[in-house]
Symmetry: C2
Subunit: 510 residues, 2 copies
């Protein structure tokens, strides 16, 4: 990538961070009941940004353009309604905050046209109530992934929702952003798992019935899911849960190329044989993955010889993760393996699968190391129907390479396969342009987004809209679609205090 | 039921039908382009009502309180937008009409506060475009069930959507009402099947991208699904399709009682072993089903002896329908049968299963015969989580028996099983009170609806809201939920011409 030793950058210490001066808070807010109010620099800083590349650049520089004027932590659900009413009256913007892992600027504490902005930290709302007969659980929005799983594990249950942000992200955030976990093929995306929600808005609250399904009009649950804090605060989420899997079997295969691998994924998806986890890396990501899995030295040479023998050198890695009852795993895997072999995939075995599994949450940490070295590294994702996936893949890759230059690295994997299509997840790396990192990032991001839109694909399969994708909402749902959603927002949040500048904020060029 | 020979009623001939005087149509409407305009009595009558019991009573009496002032048939999608704009300008109410099979008053041609009302017959919109790679199809809203299946069958495909209204109902109606087919456990409800929609509203149109999934905000697709013509006209529906099943195997079992049968359904649903069709009749429905399946005389005695031997006399019928690749059907069935036997179910064999399959669309026809005899007969349905299904079953049954008297018959089946719950479908019969049929029906219907609401169950699993359930929408989604949906309607249909009096029209007591 042309990275040089003197590209290495350091991040500033906490003491050196410059936060914008806090705006004065309305007197009534400082006296709000049932909440803790924090205005110290550390809390303001911890709620000042998400975890996108621009967020990291700003945090490392210690130059935050925005920060909340206060962090407010409600002790219970009953405090949320009065607080939001107060904020609407006093014209204080409210940014709901779960784990703070947004990579699209979803928690940026923007004031909009208001006098002040608070970050509403939901970490106090962590109730759990399990219905073992119906296999559902009511969960508080502030529960982090591992907390929710630990509570459910005591009843032998699991949500099965494991996005890369799992360790930090929360139930409320999963619901507000339509999160999709790495095992979504098996357990469902988070919006599949949710059966009911409670939303508290500035003008009141609504909750959907806890029922398996209804034909009673447009789905309010699906209106709250993905609302990203712009309509109100999600204060309870009821989810389907599963019995914890007794057997977990991860393995890797190599397909001859990305096209052949894609056909394998389509075949499995259209024949009801998807493993819980299915990921297909393109040639470039495969090469890096195998290197990074520590398959170096003698092992690398042995693998290379093996793949050469099987004519799969330069092929594409397929990770299959099977989870469930031992019998079921054995039976489903046997049927899928038959199709993998028939399509010419070569088995790499379980150690390569386990290696992926071990590293499944490591991406975000690795990013810090790369930033230390002066590398620009970012991810973005989209989805399309099978018949247009190749077109989309080529368009986004070409756009990123064009924007970042010949020495950049653009790698991709297919995950989240469906009978009618799949998502594509791109990672791109380049030498960071010192001092110009944000402009460089913006150039690449815009190019990729324009390519996605021109293919009529979705601007996001699971990272959500936030601030970064808001200009593309018009391309996604059309002007009238956007207007319909804004009409809902105006009804629930007439003062416009809920998470300004996100989701419904801007049309492209608007 | 105490029905007497002189209860028998006849329906009037077409000539004797009294329709309300048509309101004069605005001049501009009579000159609208790209549409056919019909004002003859037969067309007005054919679009004057749906197929609920009150509809049938009114049709048989020949006394229609309402009828459209004209029936308008667009020749293509491009005519719909200008027509709706015109109707909004001229204050003409528009009732979108597909197959006219609503059993909740969904197509009642109510004028609301407008000068006239038209029925917008979508039978001209019948385009089909199949994507064999992605296994999706774009379908026109006017296609009836059998038409859509015939088109797809030419490509070896199926929607797998077979509600009891299949023969008459249309793609647009399925989408507008969140229809669920008898094989929903296998193929998904219609709202599961739909991947994209186009909606033309009086102020403009919106369409969602044809993609497998998106995290781009609240789901507009889920806002259009179930909108029942109150937001605009659904002019295109993209659906997932499947390869047509090579093997279809229907069979029946008998569980010892309804509770034991319910546990069987829950066990299959929570272990991923649902057949494509799964129905469990309660004791009363079982007795009638076995009689009606023609299991009379010697066969009845043999069956009775067999069930007595297996201690299942007075038990509950379970119908399992398996569809798919022969291998898959064999394997899935074997696993399910193991669980059925373990739970004490006795096999009734395939002829009883085939008998259910043969009669799957007969219910609506049988109703006509019963009305001829002077019998009140109606159905309603709901759904709840497994842990509250027994409570719901008892409450609705008791309410109907109380309202209709001791000699009434109330039967029920469980269908549409999910991991977290299931739907209950009630059929109730009583001697019709001559001349007071509508009041008698209203009494029973209200009692059942109140029971459902008091259990916090849904007012409808798949019949939709229409006019009859509109008073219960407040209980279903709350006042603020209703207001959020009304805000969308006000944005898309500010003149309020789209299907007045349905879905969002009334709160209970409002």
């Amino acid at each position: 990538m042309g990275v040089r030793p003197d590209d290495a950058s350091e991040h500033v210490s906490l003491e050196a961070v410059r936060l914008p001066e806090p705006a004065p808070l309305p007197e009534a807010l400082t006296r709000a009941e049932g909440v803790e109010l924090r205005t110290d620099v550390e809390q303001r800083l911890r709620h000042a940004a998400g975890r996108s590349y621009p967020d990291l650049v700003r945090l490392r520089r210690g130059e935050l353009e925005v920060a909340p004027d206060a962090v407010v932590v409600p002790f219970g659900r009953e405090a949320v309604g009065p607080l939001l009413r107060l904020c609407a009256e006093e014209r204080v913007a409210v940014v709901p905050f779960g784990g703070g892992t947004s990579v699209v600027g979803g928690v940026d504490p923007l004031r909009g046209e208001h006098a002040a902005v608070i970050s509403l930290d939901l970490s106090g709302l962590r109730e759990v109530e399990v219905d073992r007969i119906s296999l559902t659980a009511r969960l508080g929005p502030g529960l982090r992934g591992p907390e929710a799983e630990a509570e459910l594990a005591r009843a032998g249950l699991t949500l099965g929702h494991f996005p890369q942000s799992f360790e930090q992200a929360t139930i409320g955030g999963f619901a507000a952003t339509r999160s999709a976990g790495q095992a979504s093929s098996g357990y469902g995306r988070f919006d599949d798992i949710v059966t009911a929600v409670e939303l508290i808005a500035p003008v009141g609250s609504l909750r959907t019935l806890q029922i398996p399904h209804t034909a009673a009009g447009p789905s309010l649950r699906e209106l709250v899911l993905g609302s990203e804090g712009t309509l109100g605060v999600i204060t309870e989420v009821a989810c389907r849960v599963r019995r914890a899997p007794k057997r977990r079997l991860y393995e890797a295969w190599v397909a001859s190329d990305f096209g052949a691998g894609r056909e394998i994924c389509r075949d499995l998806a259209q024949n009801g044989l998807l493993p819980e986890v299915l990921r297909l890396s393109d040639e470039a990501e495969t090469a890096i993955s195998l290197q990074m899995a520590g398959v170096g030295g003698a092992r690398a040479r042995a693998l290379d010889a093996y793949l050469g023998l099987r004519r799969r050198r330069g092929g594409c890695l397929v990770v299959c993760g099977w989870e469930g009852e031992p019998d079921t795993v054995r039976r489903r895997r046997r049927l899928a393996v038959r199709r993998l072999r028939r399509a010419g995939a070569a088995a790499l075995g379980r150690s390569a699968g386990r290696s992926w599994e071990r590293g499944r949450y490591e991406g975000p940490y690795l990013r810090d190391t790369l930033l230390d070295l002066g590398v620009l590294v970012e991810t973005l994702e989209t989805a399309h129907s099978w018949s247009r996936l190749e077109e989309l893949y080529c368009a986004v890759r070409a756009a990123l390479r064009e924007a970042l230059g010949e020495r950049s690295i653009v790698i991709c994997h297919l995950s989240h396969a469906y009978p009618d299509g799949a998502s594509l997840y791109f990672t791109f790396l380049a030498r960071g342009e010192p001092g110009q990192e944000l402009e460089q990032w913006r150039r690449a991001k815009s190019a990729a987004c324009e390519a996605i839109v021109s293919c009529e694909a979705t601007i996001t399969h699971h990272h959500a809209i936030g601030r970064d994708h808001a200009p593309y909402m018009r391309a996604e749902v059309g002007e009238l679609g956007l207007e319909a959603l804004r009409a809902v927002k105006n009804r629930l949040d007439p003062a416009g205090v809920m998470n300004p500048g996100k989701l419904l904020a801007l049309g492209r060029g608007g």
